[in-house]
């Protein structure tokens, strides 16, 4: 079992370290308080870094953690200390991009919470019991959202109307801020 790449947990936290959606795949954190301690530790350790352009990476407590931030969402993927870091980063990127697609570019906490079901389904499609199921964001988002879309219109190809609507929404938001 040790030779198969294995994911220990995937976390989605907000910009204050509070959890939005998390999934643990290993027994390393058996109690709720163990999980909370880990989440707090990993958030504090990475808080001051800039992980917005490229995925960042750190190690502590014999775990490797890759992470990426966008707006007030913090994404983390954890593996054992001997795991291939690039595999972890690929899983992270898959999750990150899939959530981006599902939230239609409005990647912030409010949107995430309002679409929590999509995010949980997303996690369900990426890793099963620690084994990687899928890393391609388009495929992941497609599996999650295919019952919301009309048949044959994948998320990544929006119609002109939809694209304009999204753009208008973005503009309005930025004006309001």
């Amino acid at each position: 079992m040790e030779l198969c790449p294995s994911i220990k947990n995937i976390l989605l936290l907000d910009s204050e370290g509070k959890l939005i959606a998390v999934k643990y795949y290993s027994n390393d954190w058996p109690t709720n308080s163990a999980k909370e301690t880990f989440e707090r530790a990993v958030f504090t350790k990475t808080q001051k870094t800039n992980a917005r352009t490229e995925a960042e990476i750190t190690m502590f407590d014999n775990y490797v953690v890759v992470y990426k931030f966008v707006q007030n969402l913090h994404f983390f993927v954890t593996g054992g200390e001997n795991e291939n870091e690039i595999i972890l980063a690929t899983v992270l990127q898959g999750f990150f991009d899939a959530v981006g697609l599902l939230l239609r570019g409005n990647e912030d906490k409010k949107e995430a919470l309002e679409n929590l079901d999509l995010i949980l389904l997303c996690l369900h499609e990426i890793v099963d019991g620690g084994v990687i199921l899928e890393t391609d964001a388009n495929v992941i988002a497609g599996k999650v959202d295919n019952h919301n879309m009309d048949a044959g219109a994948p998320l990544s190809e929006q119609t002109i109307t939809q694209a304009l609507a999204t753009a208008r929404e973005h503009l309005t938001r930025s004006l309001l801020q």
Partner: protein, 754 residues
């Protein structure tokens, strides 16, 4: 104009705190879940309630057994709806709730129906959920469908079955092993991820059969593997095969070409996996390493922190055993010292410290000094330990390294960091005679201003050992005596003891010491006064320059051989009488304690190796065991025993773990062996140790284990001689050798009555 201000605050608060789950409460949501029982199900509403329940679970809310059961039962009613979105949420919910065996029955038939549904998504998910909650009997019922699913046209379904198989292999291996043929077929799948999952499962099924794994690896390394993940798996299996194959000296290593070829793969994860695998090959040569290191060097200048980190971490490990191979990367490493990612920067520095040569030490020290102020304590400790190794490697450079250490000792830092520095200085003083005087002085200066009682006491103790041996011990006295005035009671007491040690070891100092000790008789603290009194009365000569007897020195400063617990017990049991308490009557052995967690007796069905005899759990019982073996009798006193280290993986036929016993000039490896095969009796069990990578050790004796029956652990020992007093490192490969006797049950039929 207060109003607009208030409005703005409101808006901001709204955005920050707004949550669709604001004010959510478990009881209310459980009430809402009643809608699951409605005859006319509203899919959207039900989905929303499930989301809320999942949110609660995610946030750490716990459901009581009753609540969980109730929720589970109502969720099962949702199978009546044909809404796809809702069905998906139901799958996720069932997985989260982890129903117990009797609850599972309710949902089994619905899931089995889904497992044969025309909708691929239903089949895939039903398989995953069923396999998660199933037990052995249910599994045999659905086995047929799982085998079909493995070779299903739809890759999502196939992957679902294969991944479920990987999990089920842990609990029902006999069943999953029957799917070999289907899994083998799936390995040939054109769908990339199906191949990946099939390969992972097939390898695990076959992993105890070395020949089969060999065959698998041979055929796939020649064929085409479609996904980077599968390729990474193949690289790992190949490494395993290389590790376990015989070491043929002639010609190239088998499969090396395959690994080297992977260095040119498109996907970065494959390139890295191959490079890392090459660096971890047993006894890898510089020639074999070169292409891997070239690739890693390239990663060092990548714009992606993940690549830089992975590369520098691997090179750091290589530098431990092959520093020369990594020197080409020094320039790239030096530019990483200023990397934004402090983990990368620290790894770069510690690698440079390993690969640097004597002439670059000064330059490195300068760069590191600037760097230290930027990083957190935990990184600083890593650097300090690397500097310690560097100094031991280049003892002539001790001056600049010692200066560096004393400088950082003066700066701000936490306890662990300061302790690491002090430990380093202590080691340098011990191992580099020329560094002793300056090192001791640095430590003296440090305790003048040290906020950590533990460190002050430790340093004073150390001063007491090393100070008297120097050419002019007198110069340390002032520092020590100042502690008696200025510090807390613990430090003062330590200082008093140190003064006494100087007095005991250096006769010419006795008059001076006696004067100082007499002043300590007026201290506020009784421990301090008691110690001063003791020393004044035992050092002898009342201030004259006389020698202190060896027995007095041993009494005052020798170590206590007796376990404190025994001493305490004896003292408690002593009843005041004519006879005074005699410490020689205190027993020196410790009664072996039974382990807190007692393993249940009886056989484990999966045949997992039982842990070795739990009675051997304390140092003193090790001592007893070792001293009862005549071959080890003259090794002297046992210094330390390690904790048991597993040498075999779980679920192997013969489980072995090793305890390392360290003596002054010897090391004894105690191999605890367990035989988990009921039909076998092992005899003449020994461990053949390959110490070719441990040149400073010489094997002296091997003590075989006569007989190792089923489930009754035994020990075999191998002892090595080692040089005394200096730290040595060695790598030992171990091979278990034994004679196997198969036990055949002979049935005796009772005589039939004529």
């Amino acid at each position: 104009m207060a109003q607009p201000l208030v409005k703005k605050d409101d808006d901001r608060d709204d955005e920050v705190d707004y949550s669709p789950f604001m004010g959510i409460e478990k009881g209310a949501v459980l009430q809402e879940a009643r809608v699951f029982n409605d005859p006319q199900l509203d899919p959207r509403r039900c989905s929303q309630v499930i989301t809320k329940l999942l949110y609660l679970l995610n946030q750490g809310e716990t459901f009581t057994k009753v609540e969980a059961t109730e929720v589970f039962f109502s969720v099962t009613k949702l199978f009546q709806s044909k809404d796809i979105g809702l069905r998906r949420m139901v799958y996720v919910m069932i997985k989260e709730l982890s129903p117990s065996a009797d609850e599972v029955i309710i949902v089994t038939s619905s899931l089995m129906k889904d497992m044969t549904s025309k909708t691929d998504m239903y089949r895939a998910n039903a398989i995953r959920v069923l396999c998660r909650i199933t037990d052995g009997t249910l599994l045999t019922q659905i086995e047929r469908y799982l085998k079909q699913a493995i070779v299903d046209k739809n890759p999502v379904v196939a992957s679902a079955a294969l991944v479920s198989g990987i999990h089920l292999l842990q609990t029902n291996p006999e069943i999953v092993k029957r799917w070999s043929n289907e899994v083998q077929e799936a390995v040939q799948s054109r769908a990339a991820l199906v191949q990946f999952h099939a390969l992972a499962l097939l390898h695990q099924i076959r992993q105890n059969d070395r020949l089969a794994v060999n065959k698998l690896v041979s055929s796939l390394t020649k064929g085409s593997v479609r996904s980077p993940l599968a390729q990474c798996l193949l690289i790992r299996y190949t490494s395993q095969v290389i590790r376990e194959s015989a070491n043929t000296q002639a010609g190239d290593r088998p499969f090396y070409d395959f690994l080297e070829g992977c260095l040119r793969h498109k996907a970065e994860m494959v390139i890295f996996e191959a490079a890392r695998a090459i660096t971890e090959l047993n006894g890898v040569t510089n020639r074999e390493l070169t292409p891997a290191i070239t690739v890693l060097q390239h990663f060092l200048s990548s714009s992606k922190p993940v690549l830089r980190f992975a590369a520098v971490r691997t090179l750091n490990k290589v530098a431990m055993t092959h520093p020369m191979a990594v020197t080409n990367c020094n320039i790239d490493m030096e530019s990483l010292i200023s990397d934004q990612n402090r983990s990368i920067a620290t790894l770069a520095i510690t690698t440079l410290l390993k690969t640097g040569n004597e002439s670059s030490v000064d330059r490195l020290m300068k760069q590191i000094t600037n760097f230290m102020s930027d990083i957190a304590d935990e990184f600083k400790i890593v650097v300090v330990e690397a500097i310690r190794s560097l100094c031991l490697k280049f003892p002539l450079k001790y001056k600049s390294l010692m200066n560096f250490l004393s400088n950082i000792l003066r700066e701000e830092g936490g306890f662990d960091y300061k302790k690491a520095i002090v430990d380093s200085i202590v080691i340098l003083i011990r191992d580099i005679p020329e560094a002793k005087e300056s090192g001791l002085l640095h430590l003296c200066e440090f305790i003048e201003d040290c906020e950590f009682t533990y460190l002050s006491a430790q340093i004073l103790h150390f001063l007491g050992i090393e100070g008297p041996k120097t050419s002019d011990p007198r110069k340390y006295i002032r520092y020590i005596y100042n502690r008696v005035h200025l510090e807390n009671a613990t430090v003062r007491a330590a200082a008093v003891s140190t003064l006494a040690k100087f007095g005991a070891m250096v006769d010419t100092l006795k008059p001076h010491i006696f004067v100082l000790l007499r002043r300590c008789l007026f201290d506020n603290d009784d421990e301090v006064r008691d110690r001063a009194t003791l020393y004044l009365n035992t050092l002898g000569g009342d201030g004259a320059v006389v020698q202190t007897g060896e027995d007095v020195k041993e009494f005052l400063f020798g170590s206590l051989d007796i376990p404190l617990a025994n001493l305490e017990n004896s003292l408690k049991n002593y009843e005041p009488s004519e006879e005074s308490f005699d410490i020689n009557y205190v027993p020196k052995e410790v009664k072996t304690q039974p382990l807190a967690e007692k393993k249940a007796p009886g056989k484990k069905p999966t045949g997992l190796g039982a842990p070795p005899a739990t009675s051997l759990s304390t140092v003193d019982s090790y001592e007893k065991l070792l001293s009862s073996i005549p071959e080890f009798a003259n090794f002297g006193k046992l210094f330390k025993s390690s904790a048991p280290v597993e040498l075999t993986e779980a679920e192997t036929e013969y489980a072995v773990n090793v305890v390392k016993h360290i003596f002054d000039c010897h090391v004894v490896f105690q191999y605890n062996c367990t035989n988990t095969i009921p039909e076998q009796l092992l005899e003449n069990v020994t461990v053949v140790v390959d110490a070719s990578e441990a040149e400073e050790f010489a094997e002296v004796v091997s003590k075989p284990l006569r007989s190792l029956p089923y489930d009754s652990p035994g020990q075999t020992f191998v002892a090595f001689e080692k040089p005394e007093g200096i730290p040595v490192v060695g790598k030992f490969s171990n091979m278990l050798r034994f004679i196997v006797k198969r036990l055949i049950q002979v049935l005796v039929r009772p005589r039939m009555m004529e």
